[in-house]
Subunit: 355 residues, 2 copies
C-alpha cells in the first residue's frame, strides 16, 4: 500500500485523466457532463441527484453487484465497458429476472488516456442500450498513478423477477445439464491480448447479455429450470462445483459433449489451461428437469446465443458421487478416451483479472 | 497502467490476501465464507446466488452507488468500512428514502493484511446493522501489488421512498439553509492521519448514518423540505453550488452562523484549506420553506446528530445573485468581518481520496 505522502500531482491535460477529475469540484462536474452523461443512453434527470428515484412494477426484485478489473482493458471482442454491463445483467438473468436498472461506479487511475475512457464509456452505453437497461446512478473517483490499474468499474443491477426464480441450490438428481455454447472463449481472448501471443485464429470474447436467451428458455421450461448459472470466473468447473455443493447433488458431464472451439482448445493446451476452468462472459449452465430438457434445448438453439447449445451431462445423487477433498469430488467428467476423473473447483490463482 | 506481464505471484499466507483469493476458486470461496459472511449481519441464503431476490413494499424506490477509496484506510473516528455504509445510506436518505438493502463490491490489493480486512469488514457489518440495512449482495476481486491501494469498496443501495422526495433541483428563493452540525470534521481527521500530523486536539471523522435524523425532519417539515444534500466531497461549498445551479437560485450564507469546531478551523488554517470545502460524512444541508424551518430546526436539535444544527443562510433569486465565472458566482458567504465573497465550487485537486 502507498504511504502517507501525496502521489505526484500531474496537471490534467486534454488527453488524460487527472486527480482533479475526482475531487468533487468543477473538473469532475465537467468530466461527468461532457464525457459520461453525453454518451450514456437512458441518462435521466436524476443524474445529479444523490440517488435516483425509480418506479418498479409490483413484485419481487433481483439485486446484484459485480466489479470489473480485467487487464488489458480492451481485448478481441470487447472491452471492460461491455463486461461491466453483461456481467451484471447476466447475474440478474440467472435468477430469471428481467434487468431494468444499472448503477456504474468507476475508479480511474490518474493518467488514463481520455480516448480510452471515451471508448469504454461508449461501449458501456451501447451494451446497456442493447440489453434494454437504463443507467440511472453513477459515481466517479480518481486515484493517483500506481494506485489502480487504468480503470475499475463496478456495476450493480436491479431486475424484476418472474413467477419462478431458479437457484444455485435447487438442482436435483436426474436433472440434465445444458450449456448454451462453447467454453473458454472469453478467457482465451483476454490471455492472448495480455500475453501478446501471435495467434492467427480469430479468437474473440463471447461477452453478451443473456436475458434475451433466458426469457424463451423460461417460457419453454418454466419451473423445470431449477438452476441457471453464468460461467464467469473459474468457468464451467467452478459453476458446476458451486451448483453441486449448494444443491447437494453430484454432477457428471461428458467432455465429448462439451462444446469447445478447436482453436480455444489448442491455445489452452499451449498455456497449460483447461477450457473448463477458463472464464466465459456469455455462457450459462442450466440444470433442467428431464421432462423439460428437450423443450429448453430447442428454445436455446433457436436463439443466436444458443446455436451451439448442448446437453452435456446429468445430476446424480450426491451419495453416489465419489467424493474427493470436501465437496470438490462431487463433479466428474468423462474424458475423450472414456475414463472419468474429478472436475475440481479450480484452486489457486488461475487467471487473475480476467473479468 | 501495468503492462502485459503477470504481476509477481506471492503465495497467499494466513496473514495477507493473495491473488488466489480473487480467482473464483476454492481460496475465494473460503475467504468469502470465513472472513466476510461470518461477520456480516443480515447475511441471507442468497449469499452464493448470482443475484439476491428481495421483497419490497409497493411504491417508488431510490437507488444509488458510491465507491470508496479513502487513504489511509483507517483514521480517527472510523475506517473505509464505516464510510462505505454511511455514504450510500446517506445518499438514499437525501431523497427521503428509508435505506433497506446494500451491495458490497470489494477490490483488494494483494498483500492487504488479513487483520486489516477483518477490521474493515467488521466495521462495515456493524455500520450496516446500526443503520438497519441488510447486505444482500457482494463481490470480491483481488488485483496484484501496485494495481490498487489496499482496498476499494463500492456499495450500492436500495431504499423505499416516502410520499415526498426532496431534490437538488427543488430549492426556491426564500428557502432557509439549514445544516445539522460542524463542517469539515471528516476531511481534517483524514488529513491528520494521512500526513501523520501531531495534533493534540481530539479530531475525529463525523461519519454517521443520517436517515434517523432525516425521518423526524421530514415528519416536521414535510413537503417544506425542498432539498437535502449530504456534504461529502467538496464539502459545504460543493453542496451549495450544486443546489444553486441545479435549482436556478442564488444562495447567501453567513460564516458567523456556520458551525466549525475551533480545532478544525485551526488545522484548516495550517493546511491552507477552507473548512467549507472539506468533506463531511455525517452532515447535510437542507433547503427549507421559511414557514417550515423552525419546526425542522427543532426536530434536528432534538436528535444527537443535529445537536449543533443551525440556520446558516437563505436562497435568493438567481438574477440578483452576483455572478462569477459561470454558475460559480451563485453562492455568496458573509465573512467574519461582515464583507461578502463568492463561495466557489471547489476546483482542482482539493483533497484526493478523502472518501
Amino acid at each position: 500500500m502507498a504511504g502517507k505522502r501525496h502521489p505526484m500531482h500531474h496537471q490534467p491535460t486534454d488527453q488524460t485523466i487527472g486527480l482533479g477529475h475526482g475531487s468533487g469540484g468543477a473538473a469532475m462536474q465537467q468530466l461527468i457532463r461532457d464525457e459520461l452523461l453525453s454518451v450514456l443512453p437512458g441518462q435521466n434527470p436524476d443524474a445529479l441527484e444523490d440517488a435516483a428515484v425509480l418506479d418498479l412494477p409490483p413484485g419481487r426484485i433481483a439485486f446484484t453487484t459485480d466489479s470489473f478489473t480485467v487487464q488489458p482493458l480492451e481485448f478481441p471482442g470487447g472491452n471492460i465497458g461491455h463486461l461491466a454491463v453483461h456481467g451484471t445483467v447476466n447475474d440478474l438473468a440467472m435468477r430469471g429476472a428481467r434487468p431494468l436498472y444499472l448503477s456504474v461506479g468507476m475508479i480511474i487511475e490518474e493518467g488514463l488516456p481520455l480516448d480510452t475512457l471515451r471508448r469504454i464509456v461508449a461501449s458501456l452505453g451501447e451494451a446497456a442500450h442493447d440489453a434494454d437497461v437504463s443507467i440511472v446512478a453513477g459515481d466517479t473517483k480518481v486515484v493517483g498513478r500506481g494506485q489502480a490499474d487504468g480503470i475499475f468499474i463496478n456495476t450493480s443491477g436491479i431486475g424484476t423477477c418472474g413467477p419462478h426464480a431458479p437457484s444455485v441450490a435447487a438442482a436435483r438428481p436426474g436433472d440434465l445439464v445444458l450449456v448454451n455454447g462453447t467454453m473458454g472463449d472469453h478467457g482465451v481472448a483476454v490471455m492472448i491480448a495480455r500475453e501478446d501471443l501471435q495467434v492467427t485464429a480469430d479468437l474473440r470474447s463471447d461477452t453478451a447479455a443473456l436475458y434475451s436467451l433466458v426469457e424463451p428458455m423460461l417460457a419453454a421450461g418454466g419451473e423445470g429450470i431449477h438452476t441457471l448459472r453464468d460461467l464467469t470466473r473459474g468457468g464451467l468447473a467452478a459453476g458446476l462445483n458451486e451448483i453441486a455443493s449448494s444443491s447437494g447433488v453430484g454432477i457428471s458431464v461428458d467432455s465429448r459433449a462439451i462444446p469447445v472451439r478447436p482453436e480455444v482448445g489448442g491455445v489452452c493446451e499451449i498455456l497449460g489451461l483447461s477450457p473448463y476452468a477458463v472464464a466465459n462472459e456469455g455462457k450459462l449452465v442450466a440444470m433442467v428437469a428431464p421432462d423439460a430438457a428437450d423443450a429448453v434445448l430447442e428454445a436455446m438453439r433457436e436463439h443466436p446465443l444458443g446455436a451451439d447449445a448442448a446437453i452435456i451431462g446429468e445430476a446424480t445423487d450426491a451419495r453416489t458421487a465419489e467424493r474427493g477433498a470436501g465437496a470438490t469430488g462431487l463433479v466428474r467428467v468423462t474424458t475423450a478416451i472414456g475414463t472419468t476423473r474429478v472436475l475440481e473447483l479450480p484452486a489457486g490463482e488461475l487467471l487473475p483479472r480476467i473479468c
